[in-house]
Structures are given as C-alpha cells and as structure tokens.
Symmetry: C2
C-alpha cells in the first residue's frame, strides 16, 4: 500500500490545486480543476484562507489525515496571501529554499509555506517569482540532478529561468499575458476584435512578424491597421496579437542563448504548445511539460526541510 | 487690414481646435483649449458633426463669414468621423494630398476634408496617420522647402516620419501613449501607483533603464518589482513607466538613424520636453515645436487645391 506523506497545495492568484503525495513522488490524488477555481487568493473574502484550505481539501477524493503536513506554494505566501515568506536570492538550491520556508501549526494542521525567489540583475534591478521555482526544481529532481538548461513558464507573467548545478541561477519575467489582456480589453486594437478563439495561421503570422525584429509597440499598432484594412479578420486579431507578443518574448529571450540550447516549456498544454511552435520556428527543439511537476518540487522541498 | 482666407479645424478623437488664417499663414484667431475639449469625435452624439462645428466656430472671438472655406483634418475624416476620405500612399507631397482631399458644401458652408496618409513597409504591413501629416507638411512649408529630416509627433499613437524632397517619405507609429494608459489603469503595475504627477528623476531613471537595451515587457514587470521592494515610491511609478516607454520608443526609432541626424519633435510643450530629454540623452539635438504648425499645413493644402 502506498502511504501519503504530504499534501502539496499550488495556490495562485486565480486558482488553487491540491496533490496528495507518496514518498516516491507519486500523486495519489488531486483536486479537479474546477474545485479550486473559486479559491485563488483574489477570490478569498475576509482573509479566510483556513476555510478555503478546508474546502479545497474536502474536494479531494479521500480524507486528509489531520497529521499529514501540508506544503503551500505560490501567491498564497505573498503579502496578499496567508503567511508572507521571504524571497531567497538566486542562485538558489533546494537547501536554500528549505532554509527560508516557514512551518506553522494552524488549527491543528502542520502547514509549510514555501518562500519566493528573487534575482538582482547586473544593474541592481530586482525580479521575483513565487511558485514557479518549485516547478523547475521539481523537474530537476525528476531528472536526478541532470537537466540543467533553460526553463520557460508562460503565463500572465512569463518566467524564463536558467539552471546550473541543480540550482536556479537567474531568471527573467516578461509581462506577456497581462499585457495581452490589457490590450484586448482596453485599447483601440481590442475594439476591432471579434471572438478571441485560437487561430493557428494568424498566430503563426503574428509570431513571424515578431521574428522580423521590429519594435513590439509598433507591431501592435500595425496589427490594428491590418485589422482596419481588413487584412486580418476580427476573429483572428486576438490570435495574431498572441503570436506577436509570444514571438517578441521568445525573440528577446533566445537572444541570450546559444543556438540549439535545451529549453523546457512548463505550462498548460495549449499555451505550452504555442510557445513550442514559436521556439521551433526560431530553431530550437523545446521539451514541453504539462504534467504537475510542481508536486514533485513540493515533495522534495518538504524532504529537504526534514518535514517528512 | 489682414483678411482671413481660411478656417482650419484640427479635429481629433478627444478634442478639436479652430484657427482663422490669413494668406501669409498668420493665425488671426483661434479657439481656447477648453472650447474644443467636449467636441472630439468620440464625444459627438448622434453624428451631429455639423452642430459641433458651429459650436466650435461660435467659440472663436469673431464671427466666421459663411463664404470662408473650412478645412478639416484629423480623425474627423476617418470612418468614425464626419466624411471619410482616402489614404494617400507615401511618399506623399502637398500635391498628392490635395488631389485626395474632398470638397463638400454642407449647410451653405464650403468644407474641405483632408485625406490621411498610408505607408506600406517592405514586408507589406500598413501604417496610417490622419492629421499629423499636415503638421509635418506645415513645418516643411515654413522652412521654405528646406528642413528634410526626421519628425517625431508623440502622443496616444506616436508618429515618426522621414521627409525627403519636401515629401513625407515613410513613417512608423508606436502605441506608446495608449499602452501607458492601459498599463496604468488595468494592470498589477498600475495598482501600485499613487499620484501620477511628473517626477523628473524617476522619468530619467526609467529612460535610462530603457537605454540599457532590455526587452520592454520585462522592464515593465521589473518596474512593478521595484515598486514592490519600495525602491520606487508609488507616486513616482507612473513617471518611471513614462520614461521607460518613451525611452524604448526612442531607442527603437533612433536605431534607424545616423548619429546626430536632425530630429524635430512636434507636440504639446510638456510631452515634447520629455521626448527632448530622452533624445538628448541618446546623443541627438532635437528641435522642439509646440506652436500650432498644423494651421500652416492646412493653409498650404487649401492653396495647393486652389480653394483659396
């Protein structure tokens, strides 16, 4: 019989997911996508995180024994979350992250709050992440210490991280997803848009435009003009913009890489696939991962802390 | 006695201005800024442009004789405006623009609707302007055919135009102002902002960051992190972002220029001054023009049409 040793909770701004984990990393149970959709930290009223956690755990197929430690990562550990934890400076290993995690007993449960990561670039400007580091460290653990390279985690705030010697060496955040949303909802370009469904050809056209090396805020205006001149249909404009913004993000990031460097994209299947397409067009052979690698990172972190 | 020969109306999305002009280009009268603030085409209810024009003319210090021709330029000639005119392809001279202007008699007034300009780049992608071309052509006329160079017209959609032989050769639009607004009002960065007053030091800091050559959508996220870490005060964040976006726009555009190329910035005094600062830091000696040069362009266009 496989015994659960930890519950990992990946708790972000818009949703939350719980995983029941065995010592070998096997996921014994997990919540359905919709169970955590109303539990992202922005949805929690009156800071009742404890109540939200119980609701999330209740959505698991089996009861969670009260003595099972629960490790929480993501924006739940930010200032807007439940317990704010420190940022660990890069380069950062599992041991560094474990040192900064916070263990608390709240309503008879043992809760571990993961820290975030910070990186300060050569000019003294900071960057931060909360949650993605356990996805990357989880994948590195699954590769048995191997697998150094570049990790791309697309999203509202896309993260690109470089690992070396099993540590996260440095990273860079690009506000692609949030800018895409603001442009769709609050600009003259968005007002030309019809349905925002995916359209592979328009997406590829936008990505190709980005590869030409123009300035992104010019290309965005040009997208509007192409819509105005009916060279792009209203229902393909959003996909074109998506290709344009992902294309510019990828172009800016791969400019720092050697040709053919190993890149792993970690994210939901549809979005990972789009980044994969753009990376392939730029001459890379990315590995796409859409499985919940964060759970393995949470498990290894709990082990590194001696919590399990 | 100086005789009025034309009324020029510079009629945009958010406001409208009227100028009473003499044959030598002298501005005999003009509306106050607030008179046209409610008359931009987005404010006009029920497409009553004729009524709006009469209200604007009534705001002039002296009555406009019914037989005086009125030349209208700007978004008033777009699909969302009063009379939609064509786009003239670049390179474009006064004569080309005059050929495409539309003369109409509406309620006993002679109205001339200026066309817009279009430019198609080497990859077949279009760009458009409506109104700015008369500012540039007006300045060229004032310089007596001299003054070829680069013109920067900052705003919601900043225009950069190259002139040669007294014609507008090509141009490029950058969505700086509108993206600035969307970021301030609809993103996680905007939520950290306090008062959005100008702050010269933070503006310069943002512009300097842009000059370092990073990717703009990474720098925008970094601005939010600097705010989070309290390295930028809430009341300086908007100025920092402004410097960052103007800095990236200028960097992208001057990359196409020879060092020391002549650049003229045409715009409101405060905004022109900010672009001037960034251009100087990039090694250029821009000329700043905040006088209503559009009126001269309107006059010369009416002359080229034989309308006056």
């Amino acid at each position: 019989m496989t015994v659960p040793v930890l519950v990992g909770v990946d708790w972000g701004t818009t949703n939350a997911r719980a995983y029941v984990l065995a010592a070998d990393g096997a996921i014994l149970a997990q919540t359905e996508e919709q169970a955590g959709a109303a539990l992202g930290i922005m949805h929690i009223k009156g800071a009742d995180f404890s109540g939200a956690l119980e609701r999330l755990l209740a959505a698991l197929p089996a009861e969670v024994a009260p003595e099972l430690p629960i490790l929480l990562s993501g924006m739940i550990t930010s200032r807007q979350g439940w317990v704010e934890t420190a940022y660990v400076d890069c380069p950062a290993s599992f041991a560094d992250v474990a040192d900064a995690a916070e263990r608390q007993t709240i309503e008879d449960r043992t809760l571990i709050f993961a820290p975030g990561l910070a990186y300060t670039d050569a000019t003294g400007v900071h960057d931060v992440m909360r949650g993605e580091e356990l996805q990357i460290l989880g994948l590195l653990a699954m590769a048995g210490g191997d697998g150094d390279g570049v990790y791309c985690l697309p999203g509202t705030h896309s993260k690109w991280a470089w690992t070396a010697g099993g540590r996260i060496d440095r990273f860079s955040t690009v506000m692609t997803g949030e800018v895409y949303g603001a442009l769709c909802n609050h600009t003259i370009l968005g007002r030309l848009m019809g349905a925002r469904s995916h359209h592979a050809e328009a997406f590829a056209q936008g990505a190709s435009r980005a590869r030409a090396g123009g300035y992104v805020l010019h290309d965005i205006f040009a997208a509007r003009t192409e819509g105005l001149f009916e060279r792009l249909r209203p229902d393909t404009l959003a996909a074109y913009l998506s290709g344009l913004l992902i294309g510019h993000e990828v172009a800016a990031m791969v400019a720092r890489l050697d040709a053919g460097a190993p890149i792993t994209v970690i994210g939901g299947a549809a979005l990972a696939e789009r980044y994969g397409t753009v990376l392939k067009a730029a001459g890379y052979q990315p590995t796409l991962r859409s499985d919940p690698v964060v759970a393995r990172g949470q498990l290894e972190l709990a082990k590194a802390m001696g919590a399990i």
